[in-house]
Amino acid sequence: VSKSYDEIKKRIADGDVVVMTADEFKQYVRANGPRKAAKEVDVVTTGTFGAMCSSGAYFNFGHSDPPIKMQRVWMDGIPAYAGLAAVDAYLGATELDETNNMMHGGAHVIEDLVRGKAVRLKATAYGTDCYPRKEIDTFVSLKTVNQAVLMNVRNCYQNYAVATNSSPRTLYTYMGKLLPEYGNATFSSAGELSPLLNDPYYRTIGIGTRIFLGGGQGFVIWEGTQFNPGVPRTPGGVPKRPAGSLAVIGDLKQMSPEFLRGLTFTRYGSSLGVGIGVPIPILDEEMAKACAVTNDQILAGVFDYSQPTRSRGVLREVTYAELRSGEISIKNKQVPTSSLSSLYKARQIASILKNRIAKGEFMIEKPVQSFSMDRVFKPLDVRSEKEAM
């Protein structure tokens, strides 16, 4: 059995596409086998909602009169990067104000904008002959700006670490609150619903893939930073460590606070909760098998976050079925588990995407270019100029 992108796209356009959420598809394959599933099902929708720090949005504010070449920009007190043309700026999700108030970072300003709120824009400049103005203090919203574009350089990690803490004190990390003496363990993947875990070798997800992003439509624009496909994999090909990731883009004006949220990780900082859904075309039996993967076949490594080093040893490997059971065993201790990734929202996203595709409102796309499998994830060492050459 094999289907082309064009055949599937025609079925979407004609309104007779067979589309299932990843949850539904896994059940279908269990009952009917991958061969029949590949024949009967055209598209499987995946979803994930979690904290994705490497996110942000760029804006074009329009020109004031007299005009200003903005050098320093603040949006509701949060600095945005303005080392671009006169009125373009990029606001990062983890950016904080000068008091390091983690309750309100760049991510929260992005959420406020998506909620339809007005945001105070302040900018200063040195003044030029063509841009004489030296400061401006005004309000902007998604209605007033020309472009408001979410552009995230690393989202949607293909698998992630499980975090725990062997030390005698509570740790506050980007993996949440970790209680002392292996008091808990946290994980951050939607597991069997997660987009890249259903397409482990990036056959259908690549540059140009149309996706659900923050409630609207977006695209994959590149491999995500730290893309690392060479990690150990299960016999089924599923990476057992953080591997692939996606760089994505989409119109902020289409998005919804349901799927784009400012988050606070105490004593760590702010982050953006991003909802992403990726449709996977079932081109053949191989894709059907890949999308049939279940939590008991997806493994992750457990790491002790009390070791402040980049090369922590793996305490053990666990399956997402074990993590989802609410308890895992570490060093003979039963340790309660917490997810940082919302299964509820992941399911919601897969289901919304399914409905949009079934109604012909969302078209799948063949990637214009696949990701390179040769990418490696290199460390940063303190080195001389010569060593860096």
Binding site: M103, G176, G273, P336, S338, S339, S342
Partner: protein, 133 residues
């Protein structure tokens, strides 16, 4: 009977062994949920269990010793519009008042089980939990 109370006391009242007396004189089981006490007085959240009559007498005893007593029906509240149901809170909640329901994928909050310890407050990434004490 079980009840949760917030106690506010002055420095003078802090010198009385009030918890001891609640246990010894009024035969109450006392579970200290929160305690913040320093030289200018303090605040305590207690869960008292015992006979209804003993609890009433115990509270009267506290009041007569200059301790402000306020019963609490709810100590912690969740804003359901803010919660994303990620589940960060479930592994740190000591009483399983916050729990994950695999069927719905949602995090449930059973207020009767909550002892208002407050560990969930700063652990919640979207800040859906609020302590009312």
């Amino acid at each position: 009977l079980k009840t949760k109370v917030v106690l506010n006391f002055s420095p003078e009242a802090a010198n009385n062994p009030i918890t001891h007396n609640l246990i010894a004189k009024y035969h109450l089981l006392v579970n200290i949920l929160r305690a913040e006490i320093d030289e200018i007085g303090g605040k305590m959240v207690l869960e008292l269990s015992g006979k209804a009559d003993d609890i009433r007498k115990g509270i009267d005893y506290l009041k007569s010793n200059g301790v402000g007593v306020r019963p609490i029906k709810e100590g912690v509240r969740r804003d359901d519009d803010v919660c994303t149901h990620c589940g960060m809170c479930v592994s740190i909640c000591p009483t399983k008042a916050l729990a994950f329901d695999p069927k719905t994928g949602k995090v449930t909050f059973t207020e009767e089980r909550c002892v208002a310890c407050g560990v969930c407050i700063d652990a919640c990434p979207p800040r859906a939990m609020e302590i009312l004490i």
